[in-house]
């Protein structure tokens, strides 16, 4: 099914962010694991795999719309040196993703591409869940202090 070019471009931009998120979350997860922070590793690893599955859905949708999925383009990875920086880097990425998804959903609605809209809505839901989790972690660090937080994540 042939789609208009702006929709394919939009889906490719969302795909770029999902691929960036897959890599950023994966590296952060394995850094946590390396430091013995297994609870953070588990959650971040799952977020990475989820981002990869969402990238897969986007790739299939772009191919269905007879476009070419761009797996070459990757954004800047925001890799922190410690847990606080890593969480804040992830918040920055998911915030940018959320802004783009909200705009994208509006575009799909106006282009009457309801299936792409549903796909983006699904991604938005998971993005917001992850954003909520990240913000909770940052507020926990604020409340109990970095040392206590890290001990709880071992």
């Amino acid at each position: 099914m042939k789609s208009d070019l702006p929709t394919v471009k939009l889906l490719n931009r969302v795909l770029k962010n999902e691929l960036t998120a897959t890599n950023q979350f994966f590296l952060h997860a394995r850094m946590y694991k390396n430091w013995g922070l297994n609870a953070l590793n588990d959650h971040t690893y799952k977020a990475s795999i989820k981002a990869m599955k969402q990238a897969d859905d986007l790739i299939e949708r772009v191919l269905f719309l007879e476009g070419l999925p761009n797996l070459q383009d990757l954004g800047k990875l925001l890799i922190g040196e410690n847990t606080d920086e890593m969480l804040r880097g992830d918040v920055t990425l998911v915030t940018a993703m959320r802004t783009q998804l909200v705009e994208g959903i509006g575009h799909c609605e106006s282009a009457t591409d309801y299936v792409s809209r549903e796909l983006l809505e699904d991604i938005l839901e998971h993005t917001e869940d992850h954003m909520d989790w990240l913000e909770t972690q940052l507020s926990l660090i604020d409340k109990v202090g970095s040392k206590n937080y890290l001990q709880a994540m071992m």
Partner: protein, 87 residues
Amino acid sequence: MYICICEQVTDREIKAAINEGASSLRDLRNELGIAKECGQCGHCAKAMLKEHADHNRSERPPLPKQAPSCGSTDLFPLFGHAILASD
């Protein structure tokens, strides 16, 4: 945080280089080896240079507004903007 992943260069190292006199991306490239391979860090490094230049300008009296100092500036909104701008 890491600005250049290829060469493992952090924002603190870049700030130190800027404070020691690096004023262009070329200086930073020669000194720290950043923006040589994939080039993804160039945007962030330039933003840090610009921020430092703006800060210096704001230090000259008399100016009505005080620009945020380099030390207290939150870098993450800067990068968030960079992510969206590069689309």
